[in-house]
């Protein structure tokens, strides 16, 4: 199993979620993050002082899938999350040794 961590633009979330579901991925976990990278944030003014806000608000989507689904999941996410503009985000794939469904105690892929 792998955990796919995708850092994307917030307003792409709906589509990413939708498309992943069509792959039979039944669950995911989402959180709000602040991103720092090539996309350089923006200027703000407050009481006359300008200042640079480096962080851009992004959404982190975490989805754990069986190895067989990794490829398709990646493709899908890239497909819908890409706008072609700097700041579209990254996807990281991380190994997962085991997964458990708390409700049932089920272990392994059936837990997803």
């Amino acid at each position: 199993m792998k955990k796919i961590e995708a850092i994307i633009k917030p307003f792409r979330l709906d589509d990413v979620k939708e498309k992943l579901t069509t792959l039979g991925i039944n669950g995911m976990t989402v959180s709000e993050v602040k991103g720092f990278g090539r996309q350089k944030g923006h200027q703000e003014i407050y009481r006359g002082a300008e200042y640079q806000v480096d962080f851009v608000s992004k959404v982190k989507v975490e989805v754990v899938v069986e190895d067989s689904k990794v490829e398709s999941a990646l493709k899908t996410i890239i497909g819908v999350a890409a706008t072609g503009k700097i700041g579209d985000g990254k996807i990281f794939v991380i190994p997962v040794e085991s997964a458990v469904r708390i409700r049932t105690g089920e272990n392994g892929e059936s837990a997803l």
Binding site: P10, F11, L13, D14, Q43, E44, I45
Partner: protein, 443 residues
């Protein structure tokens, strides 16, 4: 203060008294003194009421901010601050003259610009009266802000605001209320009843809002590709509710204050205003409950405002019982009206068109139907003429104004800016920097 407290006392006592030493007290001097004291009460009430109506600006700002997304809150506060500020200056320079100046054929005022009717030492009534009228003008202007929220270019909004305060509102206002001062309007000539402005203030604002919302088009994400309605939830409901309480309070100045005199009429006006608001919110809640399965708050809040708008015109000429009926009907109307405009793709985030435009029209009609002095086809006919005149004057003119702005300086922000939020793009600010804020509905 010294200087003036003395002068204060001096004025506070009947002028004649000032020389009481020499002057003998007579029946006539007493009568004059009585009238002076009464006029002091009239000034007091008119100005206190003006203060309450001013406070409605805060109410409008909160309702609008609460019913929209966090990323546009600064922009909304700026619009509300500016249409009152700019409106005050513009109404001082131009609007008041067009509305209450000596009238050309009942259509347009021609004198009294820059408050020229006031001369130091002269009768200050024009000042008290101006103040009360100025806050009314600002109310009409600010109504539009809500319907255009979350996508309007700030500079474009400012130009609209000037146009409404300088021309659209005052000229129509003069038709119905001009004779309150130096003017004389053709509409009031027909016997049109609009005591505190369901039509003059609220419908004018509401129809201008309709024009604005149409010219702008809906917010990104309000309708899905496949044309379904996508609600865009307001970001701070407690603030919106506070706004409605403040508006309700302000209406106790708006309606009873329209006597511009301290007399016993204000009692019934006050009661009617309150009962209509109460009935409006209850019926709107019930309607939402029946239709959606739950008592929905934004509709209930709109219902209170709908009742208030509806009673604004008839508040002085209908019974308390009629007021309840008028408010209740408004509470039902507003729910269906909001749904209707949403269906026809007029994206009005706060329901301004339904609350002020539609319910303003309903209230004006109701003033004819429920008139305590009895009603008649002709009375109702005149009310309908007034309602129609308001739409016929306001909507096209506002539409043209918005189109003009759109073609020149631009009325709507870019897709990018709208998605980022106006606070950042228009004002370089962030309303809630210490909180993690985000709205996923961005098209």
């Amino acid at each position: 203060m010294k200087l003036f407290l003395n002068l204060g006392i001096w004025l506070a006592l009947p002028a004649s008294l000032a020389f009481a030493g020499d002057d003998p007290i007579t029946l006539e001097s007493n009568r004059a003194a009585i009238e002076l004291v009464q006029s002091h009460a009239d000034y007091l009430w008119t100005l206190i009421a003006a203060g309450l109506v001013f406070f409605m600006q805060a109410g409008f700002a909160l309702v609008e901010a609460g019913f929209t997304r966090a990323k546009n809150s600064i922009n909304i506060m700026m619009k509300n601050l500016m249409d009152f500020s700019i409106g005050s200056i513009v109404f001082f320079a131009v609007g008041f003259g067009l509305m209450f100046g000596v009238s050309k054929g009942g259509f347009i005022g021609t004198t009294g610009f820059f408050l020229s009717d006031y001369t130091p030492g002269g009768d200050p009534w024009v000042l008290a009266f101006w103040m009360f009228q100025a806050v009314f003008c600002a109310t009409a202007a600010t109504i539009v802000s809500g319907a255009m929220a979350e996508r309007t270019k700030f500079i474009g909004y400012i130009f609209y605001s000037i146009g409404l305060s300088a021309i659209i509102y005052p000229i129509f206002g003069g038709w119905a209320w001009g004779s309150l001062f130096n003017g004389s309007g053709w509409l009031e000539g027909l016997g049109f009843i609009d005591f505190a402005g369901s039509t003059v203030v609220h419908s004018v604002g509401g129809w201008a809002a309709l024009a604005g919302a149409i010219v702008l088009g809906p917010r990104i994400g309000k309708y899905t590709k496949d044309g379904k309605i996508r609600p865009i939830p307001g970001h701070n409901i407690p603030l919106a509710a506070l706004g409605v309480f403040i508006l309700w309070l302000g209406w106790f100045g708006f309606n009873p204050g329209s006597t511009t005199a301290a007399n016993k009429d204000i009692a019934m006006i006050f009661v009617n205003t309150n009962l209509a608001a109460a009935a409006g919110s209850i019926l709107a809640m019930i309607t939402s409950w029946v239709k959606f399965g739950k008592p929905e708050i934004s509709m209930s809040l709109n219902g209170a405002l709908a009742g208030l708008v509806a009673i604004t015109s008839p508040c002085a000429t209908v019974s308390p019982m009629s007021s309840i009926i008028i408010g209740a009907i408004a509470g039902v109307i507003v729910v269906f009206s909001v749904l209707f405009f949403e269906k026809i793709r007029v994206d009005d985030p706060v329901g301004a068109v339904s609350v002020h435009g539609v319910c303003g029209a309903w209230g004006t009609l109701a003033a004819g139907i429920f008139n305590m002095g009895g009603t008649s086809a002709s009375i109702i006919g005149v009310q309908l003429i007034g309602i129609a005149a308001c739409f016929a004057w306001t909507f096209p003119l506002a539409f043209i104004l918005f189109k003009l702005i759109d073609k020149t300086i631009g009325l709507r922000v870019s897709k990018e800016e709208e998605m980022t939020g106006l606070d950042q793009t228009e004002h370089g600010g962030n309303a809630y920097p210490d909180f993690e804020v985000s709205s996923y509905i961005q098209g």
